[in-house]
Amino acid sequence: LKEKDKITKLPGQPAAGVDFEQYSGYVTVDEKAGRALFYYLVEAPDAAKRPLLVWFNGGPGCSSLGIGALEEIGPFRVMSDGKTLFSNPFAWNRVANVLFLESPAGVGFSYSNTTSDYDSNGDTQTAEDAYVFLVNWLERFPEYKHRDLFLAGESYAGHFAPQLAHAILRYNNQLPHGIVINLKGIAIGNAAINDLTDNKGMLDFFWTHALISDENHREIEQNCDFNVAEGIKNPKCDAAIEKAKLVMTQIDIYNIYGPLCYNTSLVDPPKKSSVK
């Protein structure tokens, strides 16, 4: 199965060739439901000496292959023609073997043959599927069975990475076939961690970066209590937050000093979903 997953060359890949191996394919996580997760592995040039890093994107619902591999830390980026690839000199496979996991089923190329699976997604199922994926994937790539493991990701991966790590800690003494998952660390970037402080932090950031008015900030301060979940569930607080959130329609909220995409020849934008 590993050899079948080997990528000989991606269309549009730089002609000079590469000094690392790439694999991609499916790992079944639930045979009965027909649920399978898609992965893309980019090994380091000196793969045997490097740890394994599993990368998640957030959303929930966003693709680690599309965003993580092709926009962020993978070895290639896509040119504006949508066909040609160019090398990313800052790819993370310089320092680790990077495994991009499209998670849960329904994200990217991951799928389920049981359509009701798509209506019952959540943190618990995602962590359990990711754990089953990892155990089964290690059977396909046994050279990584004893390798140092790191989990990383951004945004809603602030849930995915620690919850998978938690599953690894919980089940590590029940692993089959001599697998040892040697979890060393997790790295989470701009991560959803704690709803109440995440919300307060976002609104404070808007104000301290001159994106909302003093009046709007005062309304939030006077009507919202971010110490308890009920503290933001009143009409005045809700109205003040909704007013502040208008800034999200005016700028690229993911990079407040960056430009928006204004190429009018591009239609049907593949929008990012909310971070929930």
């Binding site: 990528i7 066909k83 951004e154 060393k184 997790i186 701009n190 991560a191 700028i251 993911y254 960056g258």
Partner: protein, 146 residues
Amino acid sequence: SSDPCIDYYVFEYLNNPAVQKALHAISAGPDHPWMICNDFSWEDTVPSVLPALKELTANGIQVLVYSGDVDGRVPVTSSRYSVNALKLPVKTPWHPWLVAQQAAGYVEVYEGNLTLVTVRGGGHQVPSSQPHRALVLIKYFLQGEP
């Protein structure tokens, strides 16, 4: 620097049948193209992963919380408030970290295996907007070096 239209290029690339074949990916057909993000109903969530982070650090797992400081969606203030909520003693106080002799951001190390790092000029997708700083950051984290 990152191209704000990059989602479109990736969308076109990954919906190319030749690319899907090379990746061994199964297409759901032209009516269901590969998408950057799919909207889900997501009922099963937790309001906080702070308890999980506490448990991980208590078991010797290193936790790095990093934050691009020009992201407005889950901004650096949110990351700071979340880490503050853990009430961990500070091991190494707030100080700059350097890449190419410039401040690449700021870092605070806490007792109990947790580090908070900011990435100056980084957006929500730090490795897109600050690729060099992101690579340096992950390199030292993987090596277990400060």
